[in-house]
């Protein structure tokens, strides 16, 4: 972050916080995702030190991700529903200040890195307790019902979230240059076996190991709300349980963290067959995202070894999709 940008952000925060003496004493780029940038801001507010995070977009962003203003509104709605999220503090819609719209939230301590979280038997109070807590967080998220004026950017809730998912995934495949028969195989199976629709709720749509920050005591933050929408709550449970998001710890079916039964117990009423249907969808969706990410590298929009390697995850996902369909037929 150069001095001019830092100064402009400082000016904005002085006005937004009502403290004309606010100072940014440190700004460090945190390990961010492919889509957004996160900066750790150390701030002195009314004479006292504060630890904040500034969240903004990379130049090239996925078309399907929500802009920062929307993510800020989601954090506010989630916090009001007792979901464990970082407290949202200030939103700046003006792209001139930091190069892109941004918001500031309170910095939360903990570990999110998936490969570390799944290796620990003690984080979050232990595997059983953490899986249970994940279920409780999801249940709170799913207590948020449409319509909501403050979440109007999410659009109308789909009448049938499952069929809407299949349509969206097929559209994503149709945008690509090469056919993906293995993913088509999975989508056709989903279409033939689709469960009847349920009333939609707010779904996080990226609620998985790696996006949940934890410490020794429990969950400290549910992160990365940019894919949220109105959907079938079972989709979130399926995404979390999908084998491809267990970070190699496949025996612990709730995200590589803990037992599926503990997750379900924490959540409450769960239709297991519906979750399994969405679990297949999770592999297909991750594959289409990976294809899109690789295409950003291949097309030259964003040259990145990380994006290039993400593309090479697709064959494994295709194999898993085929295996899941065969298991369902058996």
């Amino acid at each position: 972050m150069d001095d001019a940008r830092r100064g402009a952000i400082e000016d904005f925060l002085r006005a937004a916080s009502g403290d004309p003496a606010l100072r940014i004493t440190g700004a460090a780029l945190l390990s961010g995702g492919a889509i957004q940038q996160n900066w750790a801001l150390d701030v002195v507010l009314h004479g006292a030190p504060e630890a904040w995070v500034l969240r903004t977009d990379n130049a090239a962003t996925l078309a399907v991700s929500l802009p920062r203003a929307a993510e800020y509104a989601l954090l506010r709605a989630a916090r009001a529903a007792d979901v464990t999220v970082p407290e949202p503090l200030f939103l700046c819609k003006d792209p001139a200040i930091a190069g892109a719209p941004f918001f500031v939230m309170r910095r939360v301590a903990g570990i999110a890195a998936g490969h570390r979280v799944v290796k620990s038997a003690t984080l979050g109070g232990g595997r059983d307790a953490l899986a249970r807590a994940l279920g409780q967080e999801l249940a709170r998220i799913h207590s948020i019902k449409p319509p909501r004026a403050d979440l109007g950017f999410l659009g109308a809730a789909p009448a049938d979230a499952g069929l809407a998912f299949i349509t969206a995934q097929r559209a994503a495949l149709d945008r690509q240059s090469r056919p993906r028969p293995a993913l088509e195989w999975g989508l056709r199976h989903m279409e033939r076996t689709a469960p009847s629709p349920v009333p939609t709720r707010l779904t996080h749509n990226d609620f998985r190991t790696g996006n949940i920050m934890v410490d020794e005591a429990g969950i400290t933050a549910v992160l990365d709300w940019e894919f949220a929408g109105w959907g079938d709550p079972a989709a979130d449970l399926g995404w979390l349980c999908a084998r491809c998001w267990r970070f190699g710890n496949v025996a612990q079916e709730a995200g590589g963290i803990g037992p599926r039964e503990a997750l379900y117990a924490g959540y409450g009423d769960v239709d297991d067959a519906r979750v399994r249907w969405w679990e297949l969808g999770a592999h297909i969706r991750w594959a289409t995202i990976a294809i899109d990410q690789a295409e950003r590298h291949i097309s030259g929009v964003e040259t990145s070894l990380e994006l290039a390697l993400t593309g090479h995850m697709v064959p494994e996902l295709e194999l898993q999709v085929l295996r899941m369909v065969e298991t369902a037929h058996a």
Binding site: R170, P181, E184, L305, E306, L309, E316, L319, L322, V325
Partner: protein, 100 residues
């Protein structure tokens, strides 16, 4: 004819040097980049050694339309072919997936 050692050999040798000598000497912040580079080289080396020939898979539009649904005459052959192709693709991109 190209001069030996061939592309796969060069890539494998370079990867071994990266992992054995460079990676331990790198600062922590760069180790993940080095591991990604090692992974990319491994995929490229496997691709260079690979001589798979791929059959023409069932058409995506036909799968979508239900032409290969369970109970149709083409179902079993189609799924067997898709599995074979997926395994051959994994052999280059992520061979560990074949162990499951």
């Amino acid at each position: 004819m190209h001069e030996p050692p061939d592309a796969a050999n060069l890539l494998e040798t370079a990867r071994a040097l990266l992992l054995a000598e460079l990676l331990p000497a790198l600062p922590e912040a760069q180790k993940m980049n080095a591991r990604m580079i090692a992974n990319a080289i491994a995929i490229a080396a496997r691709a260079a050694r690979d001589n798979s020939t791929f059959p023409t898979p069932p058409e995506a539009d036909l799968i979508r339309a239900g032409a290969y649904d369970p109970g149709t005459p083409g179902h079993d052959a189609a799924v067997a072919m898709l599995m074979d192709i997926a395994r051959a693709r994994c052999a280059v991109s992520s061979p560990r997936a074949l162990d499951d």
